[in-house]
């Protein structure tokens, strides 16, 4: 993983003219709709840096709530040079290339074990990556001839996952976490990585990968995993990363 920094470059939001700083926000205040409520909405918008703020829509909702849509100009500047993101640091390969690299350089099938851990019952993420069906027209990892995929499904306990990873001689473990209430995704991920650290020595541990729509991709060290994939990740990206991390990069370092 490499954190990419670009040079200093200032931008502002764009409405219809460069530099106009225009944004649109919507929110609810727990107050009955009247003049004062609209004033309160303007005050909030001002504090958010929107000045002038235009309340273009205010609608009472039930008892004592009002919904607002506000347009206005923000006075904040964005420095693109100070933005930190995880850029893809591996080549995107086709399914055919992934298979070829595994076959020629690993000379056995690459074993992947996937699961949703904890009480999370949302298999949509892990299935999108693993099921043949895949997502957005891209086939899942089960489709890759040289990958041996074990999809354990939903609500898998961490000990079960570690046991299966051991039995399947997993090269990589993929964990999906969709439910984020009370930071369940972070607790579960830490529990999982700790269990693998405890159960297997450093060199023998599978690559640990978590994915889900609400992860911060820069938190790998904090969570004790090798890679985090966020919203919109495709099976091809995961497969390419597996090849990169387990074969190409490893050989290069050896």
């Amino acid at each position: 993983m490499s954190v990419v920094q670009t040079g200093k470059q200032i931008v502002r939001p764009y409405g219809d003219t460069t530099g106009d700083g225009m944004v649109q926000v919507s929110f609810t205040l727990p107050v009955t709709h009247d003049k004062r409520a609209e004033g309160a909405a303007v005050q909030l918008a001002n504090k958010m840096g929107i000045d002038p703020a235009m309340v273009v829509h205010a609608k009472p909702m039930g008892d004592g709530f009002t919904f607002f849509v506000v347009y206005g100009r923000v006075n904040h500047l964005v420095d693109l040079g100070a933005v930190q993101v995880v850029e893809r640091d591996f080549a995107l390969l086709s399914a055919k290339d992934v298979n070829t690299v595994i076959k020629q350089r690993l000379r056995r099938k690459l074993s992947v074990v996937g699961a949703c851990i904890g009480t999370d019952a949302h298999t949509v993420g892990i299935d999108a990556i693993l099921n043949v069906k895949g997502i957005a027209g891209e086939k899942g990892l089960e489709y890759y001839r040289e990958l041996k995929v074990t999809n354990m499904g939903a609500q898998v306990s961490v000990p079960e996952l570690v046991e299966t990873a051991r039995a399947e001689k997993a090269d990589a473990v993929l964990v999906s976490q969709v439910v984020t209430q009370r930071d369940a995704h972070l607790h579960n991920t830490r529990e999982m990585s700790a269990a693998f650290r405890e159960a297997m020595p450093a060199g023998r541990r599978p690559l640990l990968i978590v994915g889900g729509p609400r992860f911060d991709e820069t938190m790998t060290d904090e969570l004790g995993v090798d890679r985090i994939f966020g919203r919109g990740t495709t099976p091809g990206e995961v497969a390419s990363y597996l090849v990169h991390a387990l074969i190409t990069q490893r050989k290069a370092m050896a």
Binding site: F27, T28, M61, G62, F67, T119, D120, A121, T123, P213
Partner: protein, 519 residues
Amino acid sequence: MTGKLDLDPVLVARARELARRAGQPVVDLARSHTTVSVERAVLRLAGVTGADPDGIPWVNRLVDAVAADVGLGHGVAVPVFDALVREGSTDVTLLAQKAAAGSVRFTQPTGRAATAARSAARKAVGAGIRRIDRRRAERDRLVKRHGDPAQRPWIYLIVATGDIYEDIPQAQAAARAGADVIAVIRSTGQSLLDYVPEGATREGFAGTYATQENFRLMRAALDESSKEVGRYVRLTNYASGLCMPEMATLAGLERLDMMLNDSMYGILFRDINPVRTFVDQRFSRQVHARAGIIINTGEDNYLTTADAVDEAHTVTVSQLLNEFFAHEAGLADWQLGLGHAFEINPEVPESFRLELAHALLARELFPDAPLKWMPPTKHMTGDVFRGNLLDGFFNLAGALTGQGILLVGMMTEAVVTPWLSDRDIALQNVRYVLGAAGGLHEDFVPAPGGFIRRRANQVLGEALDLLDRIGEQTLLTAIAEGTFGIMKRPADRGKGLSGVAAHEADYCNPATDILEAAA
């Protein structure tokens, strides 16, 4: 058949016959097995209530104690009431407490003792079923007093904060804003608990625990709302997961009005053992039939994992199977909220026409069932503006094809659990579409030989092919091989298998006896 799609009645009849043929072996299996949850439901009807200090319900402790002494295959009713007669007591909960403390031994009586136990059990369980009957009569009275919603489809809205005391004001606000049906989503993971939690609960993950007390509190709150808004506001929960029969029973006892109750959902999406599911499902549907509860089936879920165009026929097949299982268990057509969903990728050319074809096919195949129309989830991207448009088209498809129950789609699906404003905007969307085009189904007759008719007939044809293939193997094999929702679920695997037992020759379940005698 209203004939908007020109479906061949011979093919439709054949589809039903094939569904019957596929389903019958599963019914036979269900009739010859019992489960811990079925037995616990019987005890709940017989009056066992409450939980031990660790929160484990007394029904669990009692069933475990009986199973340890005589096994599950006779049914627990006779050994339990035999012990009660011997103790000279009528308090089954007290017996459960003693059994948990190890001070009661259970035996399977014979002769006169068996007759006495059987009669005592039937009396106690009969009293529980009469309570369900009274709740049903009460619903009929309230519906008469407050009235049904003015429009079809009924507007179905979800609340789920995890805290029942937070859910209540939200549900009441939703009713005021136009919701006809309130569903309280369960806490993630409850489906895999092999017991029903007790009491009012204030903590849950992505949902609120289904407990008898939570049911009671919410129903009482919605009774107030019904009075206020001048229409009977219905309440929904989930008869699914490992405690399906108990959930159905508690729903009947607390006058819930609808229950999610799919024949295969637990198998496919929760990896619950298929035999356990089918046994539990038959009992829970018998209870729902008696309680006047409308079931909602879960076909929409297949389309969240499988492709909504390629796999459209699996929805039809599942609807036919759900219908067969439901009728067999005594449910009437008006109680069949068969599920389907608006899940075709909006980038697919003619996606809306395809949706109309599928929705109308369900309408025409099941003219007397309310049909539960589920909104887009899979292709909600986080672009809330596009999501709101997609929900508008979903609502329009519901109006055009005469759906019975419309689950309100949220443009923030996959982003956050719905905010107050999300719900308000979503309801505004529904109100606009139903207000502007609510009666359009009268005018909407797809052109003969046109795209929609051709597509509907094609899906029916594919459904027949699949039913043929299932008939050649068995339904259990088809499930094992991943026919539905691409999940492979063999009959000897999955959660809850250890709680299944084959009937002994003297198996006795007074609840089933009473429910089947009435059917």
